[in-house]
């Protein structure tokens, strides 16, 4: 816990609530524009859900988010994150282990991956070229929108009209076929989309994965093709759709952001939990901490999700009734859990050839779309999946800094896992039951796995919410369905990062363009704050001109 700064009684230019990656990105840009910024964080460490924590002696856990790709390269450059210690190492491949003892590997290299698919189906290998061209085209189409504030389609303000025209022109620049494919892509289910390309179950399962991670939808639900895009629009070193590990765990991203922030003169205060946002004469004027301490600021930016910001830090009468209703209806159902494991050595997977790079990437055990959908059905019924989908990594195969020599850290993202079990709060016994299904699934493919476990941290949405504050443990601060995207995110009429209260802003993943360790919401919110202050957005590449 950092000691309270000696500046008691001062009024900050801006107070950012929550030191998650978006809060820090936001604070960095504000500080670089010359504002005197304070970030307050409830935990004793920064990073929110992008942290590395030592939960077992000698091991560093990326215990929430676990891989990196979406962090916008513009942000990395603007905030000089590599200079502040950030290093992203792309991972080399991955694998789906099949129930019949076979496997489907994935490779970073397109041709290698194509050959591997060809081992299962030559037709699918051919389709892979067509498929990746299509997905990359969709990524290219959407990427320019990530760092722009969504226009209000009901507004006739010049700026909104201009932005709408920009969107319209981008769309109109497409050919008619591309337009049609784009509309289809946004509305189809990932399973239907893949059916148009592939015939093999395991191949489809492999491409399905990005369509469901973090969502409360199954692969057969319309709209999941967009979710796939959401996971693909990032890159590592310019390779679109590539993923990597942050050296030192995901906390390295937050640490580099905090370091960049401090270098610009910003102040971070950890161990300071905000109880209320101060509102005077209809304007946010600061925050009150648990314990009653008041900190004053000319404006407040909340990195918390909308439910937490408006239903906990504010009182209902302070807000328009219609807005409160929409915030209450905001869909933020948790759908995933996490099991983090310290291992005494690298587990054996006898089905895999010894020299393959599969352990140096993402590993999966769900070999069909149908099994994924079945896992979702359990969630719909309020249970954790009996046959869960796992996105499993052993980052220490690439980054030795996270465990003692010869030992390994394993991160298992698990879907689906409901925020409540059949309507009641999780019990510890149920949490252990959840962990058992995960461990058992891995052990089916790795005979020595159970013997290697030194320590295990199990996180259901309950634990995720407790530590990070994410309502219902939803990793995206709100589901990525169209009713909560673009100008609808978080709620229609308030998609431009401004709350209904003057001087209060939102900068978390609950705002456009949504979740993942992307930083775009934090940056876009900073642009809006600076616009209101009529200050130039210093160091912000591609920033809007201040009108």
């Amino acid at each position: 816990m950092t000691p309270p700064p000696s500046s008691a009684g001062k009024t900050w230019d801006a107070i950012v609530v929550g030191a998650g990656h978006n809060g820090l990105v936001n604070a960095c840009y504000l500080a670089r524009a010359g504002l005197d910024v304070l970030v307050v964080e409830r935990n004793d460490w920064v990073g929110g859900a992008a942290t590395s924590r030592s939960l077992y002696p000698g091991f560093l856990y990326s215990n929430c988010s676990y891989v990196c790709s979406l962090l916008r390269p513009e942000i990395m450059r603007d905030l000089e994150l590599p200079k502040h210690g950030l290093q992203v190492v792309p991972y080399e491949g991955g694998v789906i282990l099949k129930q019949d003892g076979g496997y489907l590997g994935t490779f970073r290299d397109h041709d290698a991956h194509r050959r591997e698919i060809g081992r299962h189906s030559l037709r699918d290998a051919e389709a892979y070229d067509r498929y990746s061209a299509e997905v990359i085209r969709q990524c290219r189409f959407i990427r320019p929108f990530l760092l722009r504030t969504p226009p209000d389609p009901t507004s006739l303000k010049p700026r909104d009209v201009q932005e709408l025209l920009y969107l319209g022109r981008k769309f109109y620049d497409l050919t008619e076929t591309e337009m049609a494919d784009t509309v289809r892509f946004w509305t189809m289910s990932i399973a239907e989309f893949l059916d148009e390309f592939f015939e093999t179950d395991v191949v489809k399962a492999g491409f399905c994965i990005s369509g469901i991670i973090g969502t409360a939808l199954g692969p057969l639900s319309p709209g999941t093709a967009y979710v796939l895009l959401h996971h693909y629009m990032g890159d590592v070193d310019g390779a679109i759709g590539a993923w990597g590990f942050a050296r030192g765990g995901m906390g390295a991203i937050s640490e580099s952001l905090a370091s960049s922030f401090r270098a610009s003169g910003g102040t971070v205060r950890t161990g300071a939990s905000v109880d209320k946002v101060l509102v005077e004469n209809g304007r946010a004027t600061g925050v009150v901490l648990d314990g009653g301490e008041e900190i004053r600021g000319r404006l407040v930016v909340s990195n918390l999700d909308v439910k937490r910001t408006f239903l906990k830090l504010l009182e209902e009468p302070q807000l328009p009734a219609d807005f409160v209703k929409k915030v209450k209806n905001f869909k933020i159902r948790g759908s995933s859990g996490k099991v983090n494991i310290a291992l005494d050595g690298l587990p054996d997977f006898p089905a895999l050839p010894p020299s393959a790079p599969f352990l140096r990437g993402d590993m999966h055990f769900t070999d069909s779309v149908e099994r994924m959908e079945g896992a979702y059905d359990d969630w719909k019924a309020g249970r954790w999946s009996a046959d869960p989908f796992l996105d499993m990594m052993i980052p220490t195969t690439i980054d030795p800094t996270m465990a003692p020599p010869g030992k390994h850290f394993m991160s298992c993202f698990v879907q689906y896992c409901p925020p409540k079990v059949e309507g009641h709060d999780w019990t510890d016994a149920e949490r252990d039951g959840f962990a058992k299904t995960v461990v058992d699934q891995i052990a089916e493919y790795s005979p020595n796995f159970k013997d290697l476990i030194l320590h295990m941290e199990v996180r259901t949405p309950r634990e995720i919410e407790r530590e990070t504050g994410l309502t219902e443990g939803n990793i995206f601060q709100g589901e990525l369905t169209f009713d909560q995207l673009l100008f609808n995110r978080p709620v229609p009429g308030y998609a431009q990062y401004r709350a209904p209260i003057g001087g209060l802003y939102m900068c978390g993943s609950a705002t456009h363009p949504g979740g993942g360790v992307m930083g775009a919401p934090g940056r876009n919110a900073a642009a809006e704050v600076l616009r209101d202050l009529k200050k130039p957005a210093k160091d912000m590449s591609d920033a809007y001109p201040v009108l």
Binding site: P222, D322, K380, T481
Partner: protein, 536 residues
């Protein structure tokens, strides 16, 4: 080569084929309509189930017969009359507390229900009707080209934008938020009563491959609510004499405008010469030539089977191959030797539409089975008793019952094939629970799964709409990009069936739009056959 004696051939004598033929006939064309079956009407036929018992074989309610079709073809003069308009929907409950949604889409709620629910429902209903009203004008429009279109295309898009804007700021925001939502989330926000939630969710998913929790399931409800019956938006009606009466009126209108109808004349292929349709070849081998062919059959069947992929570019073939068209609704028609004994329902109630789904969740559970190619364990039913409204459909004192059951997937897992009888038994079990003793009154029955519908009516997948009504297959994407304006790459060949915008249901709207396109293309050309490519 014989001189063509017809200006146009319409392939398929379902309601859309009949409407297209009649409209072309009215426009002065000499039209030949070819139907493979022994009678016209397709899926809108009324058939004999047993001596004296007449049932709607598949379609059993009129909720979207397009007013423009009725007006232009003067269907009332040709005998179309309604036995009942503005049918009520009753959400049955086994504990004898049915909830009736009276008037168009629950204008009034009858039954014991909390006052707060009534208020919330009135607000939600109003919103849904306003939003679907924005879409209604587009049911009778040729979908615009997304790009490279003409002024008319721009106007159509502009009108849609204007329609949304005219809702006012708050409604516009709500519209843009809700448009791709699922019906379960919409209801979760406003309504708690299980009977009401189930009845509304049922309307949203009936005839689709969606469950209440599948995104986009609100759009299918909008689609239904955009229709009208006898001048009332979102209402449901029963034609006098059954759905077959609509067919009879259309056939009468067609004949009156000089259309020659040939039944028992299945088309085996469409003749193509120099990228131009020049006629058809019947299954018998007989060749009939005409400069224009309009197909009311499924678009994929028309182009891939009747024309043949060799005449089409590969992109189009690929798109047509991928049209999703797997039906999910089974039909059970019953003849009873007495009235169906529904618990808590008087004679009045029998004249309405009955829905059995204990809750929205029950529909979702029923859907889950279908996802994996299994019949639902607890199917949800839509029941009508046509003879309660129109006694002529059954002998005195006796009745016919018409039931749609979901979910019955078209593509079954191999081990579920044997489940057909079991599924029928499950439907009857649900029925028995709501109407104890009904089973002993059955004197005849006919059960059709989507596979049966496909066999009997040559509708791929047995799908009501000749292709799933999902957003990626709607409007300018229906049936697929490049065919949405009813013209095909072959000059003189047009699509005019439910596979085209705005889709299925007994509306006649695809035919109406197709004919307007055909006539527009034909302007300035004596044989109006050159038009197929004019705007491509």
């Amino acid at each position: 080569m014989p001189t063509p004696s017809f200006d146009a051939i319409v392939v398929g004598g379902g309601h859309n084929g009949l409407a297209a033929a009649a409209l072309l006939g009215k426009a002065g064309r000499r039209v030949l309509l070819l139907e493979a079956a022994d009678a016209v009407g397709g899926a809108a036929r009324t058939v004999d189930l047993a001596p004296g018992f007449r049932v709607p074989e598949i379609a059993h309610l009129a909720n979207r017969l397009h007013p423009e079709v009725v007006r232009r073809l003067d269907l009332k003069r040709h005998g179309l009359a309604f036995a009942a308009t503005n049918l009520a929907t009753t959400s049955l409950s086994v504990d004898g507390r049915p909830l009736t949604l009276a008037g168009a889409f629950g204008e009034r709620l009858e039954g014991d229900i909390a006052e707060a629910e009534r208020v919330a429902w009135a607000a939600l209903r109003g919103k849904l009707l306003r939003f679907s009203g924005v879409l209604a004008p587009f049911l009778s429009q040729v979908p615009p080209r997304l790009k490279n279109g003409g002024i008319a295309d721009m106007m159509t898009l502009g009108k849609l934008g204007l329609g949304i804007r005219r809702l006012g700021r708050d409604d516009m925001r709500e519209f843009l938020r809700m448009v791709l939502m699922n019906i379960a989330d919409v209801l979760d926000e406003e309504i708690t009563d299980d009977r009401l939630r189930a009845a509304v969710a049922f309307d949203a998913v009936l005839g689709t491959s969606l469950g209440p929790r599948s995104p986009n399931s609100l759009m299918t409800l909008f689609y239904r609510l955009a229709g009208q019956a006898n001048g009332v938006q979102a209402a449901t009606a029963l034609p006098r004499g059954g759905m077959g009466a609509v067919v009879a009126a259309l056939a009468s209108a067609a004949t009156a405008s000089g259309v020659v109808i040939r039944t028992g004349a299945g088309v085996a292929s469409i003749l193509v010469e120099d990228d131009r349709a020049t006629g058809v070849v019947l299954a018998s081998g007989e060749e009939i030539r005409a400069p224009l062919v309009a197909s009311a059959m499924n678009p994929a069947t028309t182009l891939l089977s009747l024309v043949g992929a060799r005449h089409l570019d590969t992109g189009l073939v690929r798109r047509l191959t991928h049209v999703r068209s797997k039906g999910t609704v089974a039909k059970l028609n019953l003849a009873l030797d007495g009235p169906p004994p529904f618990t808590g329902l008087g004679a009045e109630g029998l004249t309405g539409r009955l829905v059995t789904a204990p809750s929205l969740q029950a529909i979702e559970t029923a859907f889950d089975a279908a996802k994996y190619g299994r019949y639902s364990d607890e199917p949800a039913l839509e029941i009508t008793v046509p003879s309660a409204t129109d006694p002529a459909l059954a002998p005195a004192g006796q009745h016919v019952v018409s039931i749609n059951a979901i979910y019955a997937p078209f593509r079954l897992k191999p081990d579920s094939e044997a489940g057909r009888e079991a599924f029928e038994a499950r439907i009857l079990a649900v029925l028995e629970r709501h109407a104890p003793g009904i089973g002993s009154r059955i004197v005849a029955k006919d059960f059709l799964t989507p596979a049966d519908i496909e066999r009997r009516h040559r509708i791929p997948g047995g799908h009501w709409h000749h292709g799933e009504l999902s957003i990626d297959q709607m409007f300018m994407l229906r049936p697929v990009l490049g065919l949405a304006q009813y013209a095909t790459p072959l000059a003189g060949l047009y699509l005019c069936g439910a596979g085209s915008h705005p889709g299925g249901g007994v509306s006649g709207a695809p035919a109406l739009n197709a004919v307007s396109r055909i006539l527009a293309d034909g302007k300035g050309s004596s044989l109006f056959a050159a038009g197929g490519k004019s705007r491509r």
